[in-house]
Symmetry: C2
Subunit: 338 residues, 2 copies
């Protein structure tokens, strides 16, 4: 077990290193933080911290830098979440309030996060597993061709073509539209399959084929819709990463282009509360030198999607976490209002 002072030393190391981007030595530490002990003592503590694997030296005769394990301890025990100041909150709210539709909300959120944290921001579009159906519309484009339009309560619209096995009359169409909506409107996606399963029985034999086709297209759409999309921004901030560029930045850019990777990354994060994944804690190799701070957001109590930032492990965790939390909260509010 580490003594109180050693923890303080670790905290000081993390703070200094994050600030200066340079390995921090014992002398500098005692000067910049009033630890009340001499450099020699700090050196002993640092040696102990190094033995435990919390810090490391890039090479002999250089200062120490925190390891992933060190950051982990820092985040878990030594640092809180730095709350946003009043003006910052107001700025966030103002900025998000200007959004005109869902795309805009997401776009603004990305910008905002990137700007606040000066890192790369990732925002997942509100997911639909927990969404509900607002309306299903059926349009006849040709005698045996329909268009299915699904409107969700988060404001997303998805359309699919349906080729009918047999011509489908306007009357049947209206009937199907009405029945479908009375059953699924306002219901959760997950409940839809169960709710429509006996729907074909209500139709004449010659229409059943079409009804079945429409339903299966609808169910497919619900599932596919779940293939969540996301938006990223602030990649220019990657240039602040380090001086050893190409090697560090390349895999990160590659990871950011692979939506699958990012979705998995966000998906793995805990469902409630804020998750911080530090360096090698990230499963994806290209992100081994980055940390990901993510949190769920949503209208009302439930999280419908996640957002977060990707930055160097050497990041200002309290500040970043504060910004991420605040943004998530306000986005949730905006979504709830609309």
């Amino acid at each position: 077990m580490l003594s109180e002072r050693r923890l303080q030393v670790l905290r000081a190391i993390v703070q200094d290193y994050v600030g200066t981007e340079e390995p921090v030595g014992s002398k500098a530490l005692t000067e910049r933080h009033s630890l009340g002990v001499s450099p020699a003592t700090v050196r002993n503590d640092m040696a102990a911290l190094e033995d435990e694997g919390y810090i490391a030296q890039p090479h002999t005769s250089a200062g120490r830098i925190p390891t992933d394990k060190g950051y982990r301890l820092f985040v878990d025990k030594l640092a809180g979440v730095k709350p946003m100041t009043g003006p910052e909150r107001r700025a966030i709210q103002n900025f998000l309030d200007g959004a005109v539709d869902l795309d805009d909300v997401v776009a603004r959120t990305v910008r905002l996060l990137a700007q606040l944290t000066r890192q790369v921001a990732v925002v997942q579009y509100p997911s639909l597993t927990r969404s509900t159906v607002r309306h299903v519309e059926l349009l006849s484009l040709a005698p045996a061709r329909l268009m299915l339009v699904l409107i969700t309560d988060t404001g997303r619209v998805e359309q699919r073509m349906v080729d009918c096995p047999a011509p489908f009359g306007e009357a049947s169409l209206a009937d199907l539209r009405a029945r479908l909506n009375s059953r699924v409107a306002g219901r959760r996606f997950a409940d839809v399959p169960h709710l429509v399963e006996d729907l074909p029985d209500a139709f004449e034999t010659e229409d059943r084929g079409t009804v079945t086709t429409v339903l299966s297209t609808l169910l497919e759409t619900l599932v596919e819709e779940n293939e969540e999309r996301l938006m990223i921004g602030g990649t220019a901030n990657l240039t602040r990463f380090g001086h050893d560029f190409p090697l560090t930045i390349r895999p990160v850019l590659e990871a950011l282009e692979e939506q699958v990777v990012l979705l998995k990354l966000l998906g793995e994060a805990g469902d409630s509360g804020m998750t911080v994944r530090i360096g090698h804690e990230n499963a994806y190799e290209g992100l081994n030198s980055t940390s990901v701070v993510s949190v769920g957001y949503g209208s009302g109590g439930e999280a419908v999607a996640k957002l977060g930032v990707v930055g160097p492990t050497r990041m200002d965790y309290p500040g970043t976490m504060g910004a991420v939390r605040a943004v998530a909260r306000y986005v949730g509010q905006i979504l709830a209002e609309s």
Copy 2:
């Protein structure tokens, strides 16, 4: 006027520099290209080319590198467009054929372009100025609240809420829906305002307010829709830019995040045929050390949007132009089919 041989020397310099990324000297030139003259002669030619501003030396006693003006001449006069090989064409077609919807077409196009050119790809979503309306749908969500859904022939769907000044009956709604569609379905966006202007006259006085509101929302949507979106990919290729990273790459990443900048960039490019903007020819400062190759694409004869790549001025112009042209052509085909 430059002699034939001097043009050949310029061509050789461009080709070598693009290949090796290093300033090219007179000796290397005569060795790698059979110019039939000695290095000394080439030196004279190079001095002349330098006087004219086509090439420059980074510092005394280094080889020459092409200037923007040199690349311009190369592109205009010295190099053609390198056609894709058969297998390449087939690969392009196969890859694009797998797309399931518009988003997917655009996403695949971006990937493909980035991969083929090993540069940053930019694809604009099919623009709507020249698009036509496939269908307009009106749904009643609440007594005085409608949802307007616009479906375009390129497969895009846009929805808007409409708050009515007065309650609007189902009968009126059906009437409006029918009239609206009979007038605008299949028509171009640009023609819509004219086509619906007298529509309110056909309704009862108490409904006119709502009809007018719906129409103005529709027109707004048509215009806003025109705020074109785009997708980018292959940013990881920026890491191949040069060795002097951060300075070069940062402004480019910033430019790529500013959709406005990119849209203007594509917009400025000529409407037909391929456009190549080299270095300082780009209005946006951050892109002064990049070249942009763009071309319009679309279903049928008309271009509905543009696509292109952004890369270092030192790029393989013939190959890049070939890839861009080929991809644009096949995307056009795909769009025409669906």
